[in-house]
């Protein structure tokens, strides 16, 4: 009453490499134009920020031309109220703005990712407590809260980073929590529990890699919000006035009546830079999110249809 014939383990064929990890992003960039454009914009600004000290034509802190001098061959984007070259100032400001955006996002992702993973993985009262805190932060108006905190702590770049970080983790925490809750129900996680594997190991080796791409998508989206929020805080004079960021440039130009003087070059290029970085982040982040969401791939919602074709060169009777 037994069968003792083995299934010989033959017939294994070379298979194309998986689309996990780096492959996921490569196919993403290939498939979605928006992702490539977004990444292009971001890479451009990051590279510019890195090389700006070597290529910026003038000093970003000392006078090099007349007050509100219009754009010219020597000063492409003109000068501001202190006679400082706008292009050099923009490059310098971009450096700081990006650092603030990235640092604040890092803080937000560590808190948001951590809260999301712990909440989703452990569930129960841990989840309830953490999610109530998240809910409170979620309903507080960002800007008002940031103004209050920045005012209490005093204006400083570090404070701005922390304030933005503390404000922007909530959405990420919610999204990550939902994903973790579904991953932890997967059989292989249960198998590892039954094996005796600890929580740290399961989270670090099995859950984090699964929510990784989602975390990256959220990171990119949060960078945009962080830079936007930084600009807003600077504009409201809640940032260290001695530091040059895209936000303080705007604020300065506004305060020194650049608009009424007709010096559009002190405001418009700066605004375009902020907008471009934000759009770049949104394009890339949205594309990653869409690629991760299988519901957007449902075929029957497609407008194209299957086709009746003649059998050209396929099948047994071909050629």
């Amino acid at each position: 009453m037994s069968a003792l014939m083995q299934e010989p383990a033959t017939g294994i064929e070379p298979v194309e490499k998986s689309a996990g990890g780096a492959g996921f992003f490569l196919t993403l960039l290939k498939d979605r134009k928006a992702a490539a454009i977004g990444l292009g914009i971001l890479v451009f600004f990051v590279l510019l920020a890195i090389v700006s000290p070597y290529i910026s034509p003038y000093s970003a802190t000392s006078q090099s031309c007349a007050v509100f001098a219009p754009p010219s061959a020597r000063h492409w984007l003109g000068c501001d109220d202190g006679g400082i070259d706008m292009l050099s100032e923009l490059m310098q400001g971009g450096r700081i703005s990006l650092v603030v955006g990235f640092a604040a996002t890092l803080v937000a992702m560590i808190i948001g990712g951590g809260v999301g993973i712990i909440s989703g993985y452990f569930g129960g009262w841990v989840d309830i407590t953490l999610m109530r805190i998240t809910d409170y932060l979620l309903v507080i108006p960002d800007l008002v809260f940031a103004m209050v905190i920045a005012d209490i702590w005093g204006p400083s770049l570090f404070h701005v980073i922390m304030v933005i970080g503390i404000l922007e983790w909530t959405g990420t925490a919610r999204v990550i929590r939902a994903q973790v809750m579904s991953v932890k129900e997967r059989v292989y996680v249960k198998r590892l529990r039954a094996l005796g594997a600890g929580h740290t190991r399961i989270i670090a080796r099995h859950i984090l890699p699964q929510v990784g791409p989602l975390l990256i998508a959220n990171t990119v989206l949060t960078i945009a919000i962080a830079i936007y929020l930084e600009t807003a805080l600077a504009f409201l004079n809640l940032e260290d006035p001695t530091v040059t960021t895209w936000g303080t440039i705007l604020e300065h130009a506004f305060e020194r009546a650049a608009v009424s003087s007709g010096a559009w070059w002190a405001i418009v290029p700066d605004g375009i830079c902020i907008a471009l970085v934000c759009v770049g982040c949104f394009l890339l982040g949205q594309a990653i999110e869409d690629a991760l969401n299988p519901r957007l791939k449902i075929a029957h919602l497609s407008l194209t249809r299957w086709k009746i074709r003649t059998l050209a060169g396929r099948g047994a009777d071909a050629t």
Partner: protein, 359 residues
């Protein structure tokens, strides 16, 4: 309720000192001591039914799912037992309790004589090496981001065995080959999605084998696989219990598979074993009306062998409201008055155990 097995002393009562022995005893080979590998006695596992806030507010009494309600059986090394029944009969809960993933409400689970049912997690951990589980869906039970090598090595890392990297590699290769994946080197660096269903299930089995377990719990190990490879995986389990002397407890809903590969079959209904015996006894000489009905509806391969199906109406009732008397009486085609009031105990009928007044 829990005295179902009291009237029969089929298995010699274990030494009373068994439960107080140190844990180390459980990992030792029992040798000729006569203690079975696994002994489940009057196992009861109830889950609370979730109450809504409103129901809790009006203090509606908590209700319980009687998932496992007094199950007893034993399994020796080198033996394969099939736990058969419809969904909701408690077979999965039984296995989850044995695995220590669910704490039982009552009863004992003895592994080589040591009661593991109520051990704290810290003391349970070393014992997890002895009991390993194989899951139904090989597409779900392997981490899609882990290569075969990492998947099979992981249990060793978790339990801190295998010392060096080279030693772990040797044990990994050995486990893969034991699971029928030869040459193992061909599989080490593959991802699960690069393997067929049968190969994945073999990798899952290798992850269990790498710790050198004595007891394998297999939850529908082939039901998600293609018909053409099922026999191979079952033959592998068969060889593990013959050659490696493992005890295997297999959950299945497929009576044909159970009849072909298991030594013993236990038929479960609503949290109880209603019939238990050697595979051929249960299949060829069923005594319980539920077993008879189940066997009658198994489709035969030969179209000429027309079925005379004895189709029961409805489905297994909700294990929250267990019927009074014999649990099977509302669906039983031959129930009499006594069945509605008196709960039958398992007793020896025609050479094996049956819980039916009329057998």
């Amino acid at each position: 309720m829990s005295e179902a097995r009291a009237s029969v002393s089929r298995v010699g009562e274990p030494a009373t000192g068994g439960a107080t022995q140190p844990d180390a005893a459980a990992t030792d080979t029992p040798g000729a001591s006569g203690v079975p590998l696994l002994e489940v006695t009057n196992l009861v596992t109830h889950y609370p039914v979730r109450r809504g806030l409103g129901q809790a507010a009006i203090r509606r009494p908590r209700r319980w799912v009687h998932a496992v309600d007094g199950v007893s059986f034993s399994l020796s090394r080198g033996e394969m037992m099939a736990l058969v029944g419809e969904s909701g009969c408690g077979k999965t809960s039984t296995v989850q309790t044995i695995l220590g993933m669910v704490k039982p409400t009552g009863g004992a689970v003895r592994l080589n004589g040591t009661d593991i049912a109520n051990l704290p997690e810290r003391r349970m951990r070393p014992l997890r090496r002895v009991v390993q589980m194989i899951y139904q869906d090989p597409y779900e039970s392997l981490d899609p981001r882990f290569r075969v090598r990492q998947t099979v090595e992981e249990p060793m890392v978790v339990h801190g065995i295998g010392g060096s990297r080279a030693e772990r590699q040797r044990l990994t290769v050995q486990a893969l080959e034991q699971a029928g994946l030869r040459p193992a080197e061909m599989y080490l660096d593959r991802y699960p999605h690069e393997l067929s269903g049968g190969q994945r299930q073999r990798v899952a089995i290798a992850t269990a084998l790498v710790l050198g377990p004595q007891l394998l719990l297999a939850d529908e190990p082939v039901s998600m696989l293609d018909v053409s490879v099922r026999a191979g995986v079952l033959a592998l389990l068969d060889s593990l219990r013959r050659d490696a002397e493992m005890g295997i407890l297999m959950i299945t809903h497929d009576l044909s598979t159970a009849a072909h590969f298991a030594d013993k079959i236990a038929v479960m209904y609503l949290g109880r074993i209603v019939e238990e015996g050697t595979a051929s006894e249960v299949v060829r000489n069923p005594q319980h009306p539920y077993t008879k009905a189940l066997l009658s509806v198994v489709p035969k391969r030969d179209p000429r062998e027309a079925l005379a199906p004895q189709i029961l109406t409805g489905e297994t009732p909700d294990p929250v409201d267990v019927p009074a008397g014999c649990r099977f009486n509302p669906r039983c085609p031959v129930a009499v008055e006594r069945c509605r009031t008196e709960d039958p105990a398992l007793r020896m009928v025609a050479g094996h155990l049956t819980a039916c007044h009329l057998a």
